[in-house]
Amino acid sequence: MGLKQNLHNLKEKYKGTKMEQSFNALHTFLYLPNITTHSGAHVRDAADLKRVMNTVIMSLIPALIFGMFNAGFQHYGQINGFPASGMPFLTTDFWNLDNLLVGASKILPMLIVSYGVGLGVEFIFATVKKHEVEEGYLVTGMLVPLIMPIDLPLWMLAVAVVFGVVIGKELFGGTGMNVLNPALTIRAFLFFNWAAWMSGDKVWVNGAKEGVMNAAGTDAISGETILGTLAANKPLLHSAQDMFFGFIPGSVGETSTFMILLGAAFLIFTGIGSARIMISSVIGAVVMGLIFNTLVTSGVIVEGSKFYSLMNFPFWQHLLVGGIAFGIVFMATDPVSASQTGMGKIIYGFFIGFFSILIRVFNPAYPEGVMMAILLMNVFAPTIDHYVVQANINRRMKRLKVKTT
């Protein structure tokens, strides 16, 4: 009782001062505010934006935890050799403290920088513009470390977060107004500024950049992703099972399709994530994958072509590697930057999947396309919605014409 009353008194005290927004932001984390309805519906649903955002964060936890262990697993596996017993899911070869420590020591600082810097910017904007601190960044802050290479310097991340939040979101008017997905804006910023840290074969496993030597005195760690291997037309070292469960190099949270599917199921079940976007994205990716597979089987693309390995890669395995699963489930479904109409979501999702695979295969510099595909479709989402809504408008016009004739 005491805490509640004290905080209430403080809230009254700070009303109208510079502290108001910051204090309220913290206060509403402890207590659901005492705001009541005044007009319209006198009762309201128990869910608010905080609860919704919280649900999305919870859906990201499996991928985050797996990512921490996998960072260590890839690191030690490349130095000491991977366990011979095969797939280590449910074994201590994977779930051990050493692995976790490598991951945690890298990923927790990223998480702290991401949230610290991002929320800092949000608080400043809220105070200056005198609006409430909005929840949008809670999810963005969690997404950001999950789509980064493990060794990314923290200062780069901080710069990118400032850019993403200010240019990507606040300039448009804050949560709910942005055109592009903020987390992907941050990633795109990093990618175009420090490409050497964001792509290539030296960044995806902890230690690859520093050139940790093995006993033989050669580079122990190759930080190449599966897509990188394919783009270079080299033989694959991982089974489809490894890809599905995620024992492969890649951005922190993107590797385990299995954990991502857990998150997807949770999002769809809670009614927060859009199943339409997810399913139609998968369909789009499968269609493009099948087209490429057919090009190979029909002999249009033959061995020796620089696209051969990526095109020959079975269409369903395309869904297991790279960031496509993560992007489809957690980024494409961002309701603000996605299409907002039912039909629009289907079209929007389809092209995300379609373009992801297309860019992945044809872009030689950067063998992953989901980031570009989502950003591209973010830009087109309002256009798609426009035509879907126009169909509704035309239906209404037609009704009017039938009446007047």
């Binding site: 207590y31 519906a41 649903d45 919704v52 009446k403």
Partner: protein, 448 residues
């Protein structure tokens, strides 16, 4: 031609405190009030002064923009006060009731024998006209118009709403006369939608009776209009509440305007939820009487989704047949934004488990359960919105005052009440009904 309407997109809020089928008379108030603000868009022009003595049914003011539309006193007595607010806007007219309750007598008429002009003149003169509402815009109908059709909803699907089978029981004759009068007002049809279980609807020539089933908002007249004969640009249709059709009918049969309603007292703030017979304009303290629990409650004239917040001293709304009393929610809730809350209801499954108990009844309070935010989630409003309209797009077009887009997206087809459910499920806690009302007012001003 009768239509079957089946509504799946919507939501039945299950609340505690539904009215038991027993009825009593509310104690007679000392003071009755007529509030011009109950009639949206009407600017009142008084024709009586403070201190004047009026009969029940006598005209006290008329509408400035449509002078034949008159408003009457519900009781006989003395005009005690004409309360004015800023810029001398009339807030309410208080009438001290006398003990006799003398009614103004009109001649008894059979609407069948009257021409449409005669019916119209009688309704206008007797003060029944404000019962007739116009779409588009959801305002009192313009007496110069002839509508394309008249729609009456015979379903009360709102939370805890009065059971029409109970309140309309024994009013068949009045309904028959009222509907006959309505048929004279339109060149088209009079459409009534009732539930398949309804037993109060008489057979009247020129009235088509439709069957409506499903979840709320099946009982909202916009839903029924959209399914039966949608409104196009340039159309005018009228709507009347079925309780008011009976009042109109009674006027023709008895020659007296009997402004009484059977009101359902509902909600957990009511000691024993039941029905009372109330004269319109009665103070809510008299309507509720000893039935009101002590404590921090909100009194709502109407239902929880569309009603008006009132104090005990204020009067029952002109169009309302329900009073709901629910707990105020002006308290903080520790980690109320993320912990499961078994005493609250959510259509989302985000840490809320109300989906496991679909038939559980809730005692919801007036807390917004969150702060006002920009529109974020999409595709949720459509699940509780049965009209062929994009609700969020329409709301946004109103917020940016884009008249052409509002028209194209179907603003003529909606009333604020249609957005009560989207407002309920909105996680951004936007006030949808207020936005729609503002949009309609903008259209009245710009388009007319």
């Amino acid at each position: 031609m009768s239509k079957d309407i089946r509504i799946k997109k919507g939501l039945d809020l299950k609340l505690k405190g539904s009215a038991e089928c027993k009825i009593s008379d509310a104690s007679r108030s000392k003071v009755y009030a007529v509030k011009p603000s109950d009639f949206h868009g009407v600017t009142p022009k008084m024709i009586v002064k403070e201190g004047a003595i009026v009969k029940a049914g006598e005209v006290i003011f008329y509408s400035k923009n449509d002078e034949s539309v008159k408003f009457v006193s519900p009781v006989s007595g003395t005009i005690q006060e004409i309360k004015r607010g800023e810029k001398r806007v009339i807030l309410e007219i208080l009438i001290t009731a006398d003990s006799q309750n003398v009614c103004l007598e009109h001649s008894k008429k059979n609407p069948k024998d009257l021409s449409s002009q005669e019916v119209k003149a009688h309704l206008l003169a007797s003060g029944c006209w404000p019962f007739i509402m116009q779409r588009p815009y959801d305002i009192v109908a313009n007496s110069a118009d002839t509508p394309k059709a008249i729609f009456v909803s015979g379903i009360n699907s709102a939370p805890l709403a009065a059971d029409l089978n109970y309140t309309m029981n024994g009013k068949q004759d009045a309904l028959a006369a009222g509907f006959t009068a309505l048929t004279k007002l339109t060149t088209g049809k009079v459409h009534v939608t009732v539930s398949p279980l309804a037993d109060f609807m008489p057979n009247v020539d020129g009235v088509s009776v439709h069957k409506g089933e499903g979840v709320h908002p099946v009982g909202l007249v916009s839903t029924q209009i959209a399914k039966i004969d949608p409104i196009n640009k340039g159309d005018k249709v009228w709507t009347v509440q079925i309780e008011d059709v009976a009042i109109i009918g009674e006027l023709f049969i008895t020659g007296k305007l009997n402004l009484q309603r059977i009101v359902a007292l509902t909600g957990t703030g009511v000691e024993s939820p039941s029905y009372v017979t109330v004269t319109m304009g009665a103070q809510l303290s008299d309507v509720l009487g000893s039935n009101l629990k002590g404590g921090n409650y909100r009194i709502i004239s109407g239902n929880v989704l569309t009603g008006d917040k009132k104090s005990k001293e204020q009067s029952l709304g002109f169009y309302h047949s329900q009073v709901t009393v629910i707990p105020e929610g002006d308290d903080y809730d520790f980690f109320g934004w993320n912990l499961p809350r078994p005493n609250k209801f959510s259509v989302y499954r985000a840490g809320m488990f109300s989906f496991l108990t679909p038939s559980k009844k809730y005692d919801l309070n007036t807390n917004t359960n969150g702060e006002h935010r920009g529109f974020v989630l999409t595709g949720k409003y459509e699940k509780v919105f049965p009209l062929d309209i994009y609700p969020m797009e329409l709301l946004k077009s109103i917020l940016v005052k884009d008249i052409d887009q509002m028209e194209a997206l179907g603003i003529y087809e909606v009333a604020p009440e249609d957005f009560s459910l989207t407002e309920y499920v909105c996680v951004s806690k936007q006030d949808h009904q207020a936005i729609i009302r503002a949009g309609l007012d903008m259209m009245i001003k710009e388009v007319g």
